[in-house]
């Protein structure tokens, strides 16, 4: 019985680790593999201690061979396992993209529905730590272009704790993007917290004047922006997409039907961003609901630079979100 009243203080990192531990205990088909998940303890310390608990067969350090070990995850899933593959960061996942697009996302349909690939791929994403151009990508929105995979982006402790098991139980491949700035996020979590659905977006804050749509690492900034907007008398509803593919448009459009104005906050590069897709959907499905054009706050179209002030300028910030929101509420059709 889950005790839903008791709460514990925890972090996003610890919640992820608890989810991994639970999955490993619950089902012998689960194993974790990736670079430095074992002896090193995970490059973000997510899997720290799991090697000692589960042994090196199930907490499996891999060589630097992204294509092969991601592909091996797909093969193992096809052959009855529930693999969790950690790609250290999404920046390196391009090396495995052929396996993801041409095998993981494709085999089910291409084989006429004969095979399931219950694989979860976890990767860190996002900028903000001055890691420069090759270590600061936000590829989750880009991945969301690919049919055949699900993309989830836990932004809260509940989701860090709860999305993994649901994703593993899903017969299709799920990629979980963990914004690296969230690992130290601290807060309270129900002691009995467990699996959560991965089908629905969540309204994180109710509001009347405009809808702020976001996900993952930008949820915190967006929520702070909503606080500041409230101080200025603007009531913003905050929608956390949670899953970027398939998109839960009913929730987004439901909010839009209420507020008639929308700003999307997305750390991806602007052109071809997930934000663009949501704007397109709003155009297609809710054009006559709009009291102002939908706006977006994305990353500048630039390989993320190293210096703090330039990195800050390159990615969405509370102030730019507030600005975009104020401009949006001040426009009229």
């Amino acid at each position: 019985m889950n005790d839903t009243t008791k709460v514990v203080r925890t972090t996003y990192r610890d919640a992820l680790r608890e989810a991994l531990r639970e999955a490993m205990r619950r089902d012998g088909r689960v194993f974790l593999m990736g670079e430095d998940v074992g002896r090193y303890g995970g490059s973000y310390a997510v899997s720290k201690g799991l090697l000692e608990e589960f042994g090196e067969e199930r907490i499996r350090d891999t060589p630097l061979s992204e294509s092969a070990f991601v592909g091996a995850g797909i093969g193992a899933a096809l052959n009855g396992m529930l693999p969790i593959v950690e790609v250290m960061t999404c920046n390196f996942s391009l090396l495995a993209l052929d396996q993801i697009v041409n095998n993981a996302a494709t085999i089910r349909h291409m084989s006429g529905g004969q095979f399931s690939i219950p694989l979860v791929i976890r990767m860190a994403t996002g900028a903000g730590r001055q890691l420069a151009a090759q270590h600061s990508h936000s590829f989750e929105g880009w991945y969301a272009h690919i049919p055949g995979i699900r993309i989830v982006t836990p932004a809260t402790l509940e989701d860090a704790r709860g999305m993994l098991w649901t994703a593993l139980m899903d017969p299709d491949p799920v990629i979980m993007f963990e914004n690296a700035l969230l690992y130290n996020l601290e807060g309270e979590l129900a002691a009995g917290a467990g699996a959560v659905d991965i089908d629905r977006a969540a309204v994180r804050r109710a509001g009347a004047d405009l809808t702020l749509v976001t996900y993952g690492g930008s949820l915190g900034k967006t929520s702070r922006a909503a606080d500041l907007l409230a101080e200025q008398g603007v009531s913003a509803e905050v929608v956390d997409l949670r899953t970027l593919r398939p998109l839960d448009m009913p929730t987004v459009l439901g909010s839009l039907a209420k507020t008639h104005r929308m700003v999307i906050v997305d750390e991806g590069w602007k052109s071809g961003s997930l934000a663009a897709e949501i704007m397109a959907r709003a155009m297609e499905e809710a054009f006559f609901e709009l009291d102002a054009p939908v706006a977006r706050v994305c990353s500048a179209e630039v390989p993320i630079p190293y210096p703090k002030h330039l990195e800050d300028a390159a990615i969405p910030q509370v102030a730019t979100i507030v600005d975009a929101a104020l401009r949006t509420v001040s426009r009229h059709v």
């Binding site: 088909r29 194993f31 067969e57 199930r58 891999t62 060589p63 061979s65 294509s67 092969a68 070990f69 991601v70 592909g71 091996a72 995850g73 797909i74 093969g75 193992a76 899933a77 096809l78 052959n79 009855g80 396992m81 693999p83 052929d98 396996q99 041409n102 095998n103 085999i107 089910r108 349909h109 291409m110 084989s111 006429g112 529905g113 004969q114 095979f115 399931s116 049919p147 055949g148 699900r150 899903d170 017969p171 299709d172 089908d199 398939p246």
Partner: protein, 322 residues
């Protein structure tokens, strides 16, 4: 001593594939089969030999040149032919076509058209078996062209490092499309390459079905005994163009003719005849049987149905219960 029943089986396997593919070429010209079509003609001894050494529980991964493998693995010819037609009755529901033969019952996992793309999967298949303590082998076929891909390297290393029960079956037909092996590999000794990962390797005449069988049996035995992965190079040759679009500018007719003299079927027939295991009547009977099977397969495919357009997006994701 050569076992006659086995020999006739092997010959039958090769004949089935040869005639099936000749029919495919014909159907391609007739517009019944479309897309890319890569024939295995000339290389039949490899899959015929290798496949006989594997058990039903083992897993097979193959390339886009895989009709022969599919047939010899026991996928019904009708289901393979219907797949070539793109009919729902095809083993991949018609969705895959010639390059993407899949069959769960036969544990036949593609039909992969990205060169080298099946190798990482094979590691995962074999790892799963190892973790679960299942005494199975994963057999992965690929061409010598795939050896240059990074996936070959990463996969052989992983397989060896983790000692997984994987069998690497390299069909060295000397060309990757128009690129000869010596233009793609600085080191053309593929076994030496495999050994550089500490994977045991052997090279065998891929035009000799008995040699192919024997080598695979030995390798499978090693793998099943827990010795880790094994690599086999089958030296073979494709008699036809790479696909139906290839003008074959890159090799001489004389070279092709030279190799055709070593046709795995003709030479095996000769041998069996000279050893008194096969007479003309028997051979004719076999041809008739194969011909009937193929005719039935074509009829099955012709009679098959097209998937309704409404089902286009089915199976992209598993349907949610709710």
């Amino acid at each position: 001593m050569l076992d006659r029943a086995l020999a006739l089986k092997l010959l039958g396997d090769m004949l089935r594939v040869r005639r099936f593919e000749e029919k495919c070429a014909e159907l391609y010209s007739a517009g019944k089969i479309r897309g890319f079509l890569h024939l295995y003609i000339g290389e039949e001894a490899v899959a015929a030999g290798a496949m006989r050494a594997l058990e039903p529980d083992d897993a097979i991964l193959a390339t886009y040149r895989e009709h022969g493998h599919a047939l010899m693995r026991g996928i019904p010819a009708g289901a393979v032919m219907a797949e070539m037609y793109g009919k729902v009755e095809g083993c991949s529901r018609g969705r895959g076509g010639s390059m993407h033969i899949f069959d769960a019952r036969a544990r036949f996992y593609g039909g992969s058209a990205i060169v080298g793309g099946g190798l990482p999967l094979a590691i995962g298949f074999a790892l799963a078996d190892k973790l679960m303590g299942r005494p199975r082998v994963t057999a992965c076929f690929f061409g010598e062209g795939a050896v240059a891909e990074g996936e070959f390297h990463e996969s052989l290393n992983l397989a060896s490092l983790w000692k997984v029960p994987a069998l690497f079956l390299c069909e060295n037909n000397l060309y990757a499309m128009g690129t000869a092996l010596q233009r793609s590999e600085a080191n053309t000794d593929l076994c030496e390459k495999a050994r550089s990962y500490k994977v045991a390797a052997r090279s065998v005449d891929g035009m000799d079905v008995l040699a192919a069988l024997d080598a695979t049996e030995q390798a499978v035995a090693e793998v099943r005994a827990g010795g880790g992965p094994q690599f086999i190079e089958f030296r073979t040759y494709r008699f036809r163009a790479h696909s139906m679009f290839d003008p074959e500018l890159y090799r001489s007719k004389a070279e092709v003719e030279q190799w055709k003299k070593r046709c795995p079927i003709a030479t095996f027939v000769e041998r069996l005849q000279s050893e008194g295991m096969l007479d003309d009547a028997r051979l004719a009977a076999m041809e008739t049987e194969v011909g009937d099977e193929i005719a039935a397969a074509v009829a099955f495919a012709e009679a098959g149905s097209w998937e309704p357009v409404e089902q286009l997006t089915r199976d992209v994701y598993t349907a949610r219960a709710s």
